[in-house]
Symmetry: C2
Subunit: 267 residues, 2 copies
Amino acid sequence: MPSQLPVGPLDQFLLFGDSITEKSNDQEHGFAFASALQNAYMLKLDVINRGFGGYNTNNAVEILPAILPAPSQARVRFLAIFFGANDSNLGPPLVDTQYVSIPDFTQNLRDLISHPLIAAHNPPPRVILIAPPPIEETFIAREDVKNGYTEVKRYNRNTALYAEAVTKVGKETGTPVVDLWSVFMAKAGWVGGYHEDGVPMPGSIAAGFSDVLKSLLDDGLHLTPAGYKIMFEEVLKVIGENWPDQTPGALKSLRDLHGLKFWYEVE
Amino acid sequence: MPSQLPVGPLDQFLLFGDSITEKSNDQEHGFAFASALQNAYMLKLDVINRGFGGYNTNNAVEILPAILPAPSQARVRFLAIFFGANDSNLGPPLVDTQYVSIPDFTQNLRDLISHPLIAAHNPPPRVILIAPPPIEETFIAREDVKNGYTEVKRYNRNTALYAEAVTKVGKETGTPVVDLWSVFMAKAGWVGGYHEDGVPMPGSIAAGFSDVLKSLLDDGLHLTPAGYKIMFEEVLKVIGENWPDQTPGALKSLRDLHGLKFWYEVE
């Protein structure tokens, strides 16, 4: 019997991102995205969290070789790439700023998706791009001042352009996108797209404090449990739409891959 | 820079057990043990859940080859072995019953710990044995009747003997033990050891319904969030006592293993 058993790690659901990914196993405030995803894919896929707080896509391109297993070590079934929250930070303008321009951000995403180490996996990982969530500027500005920052600058109208860039790369490369920015903004009543046109968008200081966005964005940037819950639902939705044979319900469990019978199966 | 980076999966914290392990990523009711452990070891170890509902140690010995990665795939830093809740089920007396006698249970634990596939890992995995939690008989009997079972028989005085067996194997093999049975029973005021001596132990029908045990045992057998919280604390305590260089605080993060500098490090 043991010789018929599959050996080694299950395929990975690799979560690659910044602090929003890193915090997605933290249950301190409630629902945690990565934990829920692991629970959904229990004994089917191993959810591996590679969230690096503070990272932008320049850092992501550099560290990618360290987070991908070799094909002989584990197969990457899904790779979620979730950056932009730091790339879109407009301050401070130093060499080591988090800021990455939109053209560079776009190219970095392309480089990540088409990286030779990813292409080395066969079958290739199913890549999901996740666009950054909106900014609740009123709240984040207040917190930044409290924390002594004078130069951190995050604006929702600017983050919108990074979300737009993610969707463009998705379209251009045929990569499914979870557009958190648009999903969260729709909850706040905004369906006006990525550009303001006379009317200030929710999340901006001009539009005033947004209760809805604050309910999804813990500190104006990171997600609350309610925000992570939406992220979880959206990721599963994108999987169901693009790879219906890869939903948690469709995959076989490690439990089904061998021939043991148990008391409750033979009663 | 990429050539200096570590490549591939992080070392594993492998959780091997039955449904109590399998459910330990489930946040439906609150705190989930495996999620908390992953959060504590974020970017340090990958927590891999191999919990198989319904399994006893006979099943565990059989499936072990399927859940251990080859040393070339990933190193197992910690291996938690957590069985007994099903082995101690006294009914029904069929070929495919969950029941495993104490001598067989003991030998199975020895066989798991000394399995050649585990010994193939160098350095060897740090094994932690976890003893089964107590039974709240009054509640579980009520639920079993509701679910139509007439023959499932779990008694706390019997589970106690399996917990005792786990501690004996731990002592005999020098393997650290998290004795959930004794920890939970102490919360219920019982420090009388694994054997009744005239006085019925908490959890037994004779002792009456135990609010304390029910607060830790969701359905009389599986853990509540409060129970998982204690399990989390006890596991970290055992790690701190036995391997102080392996606590979450002592380990280096994947983030520390390379030379990137970020804006907040150079300000």
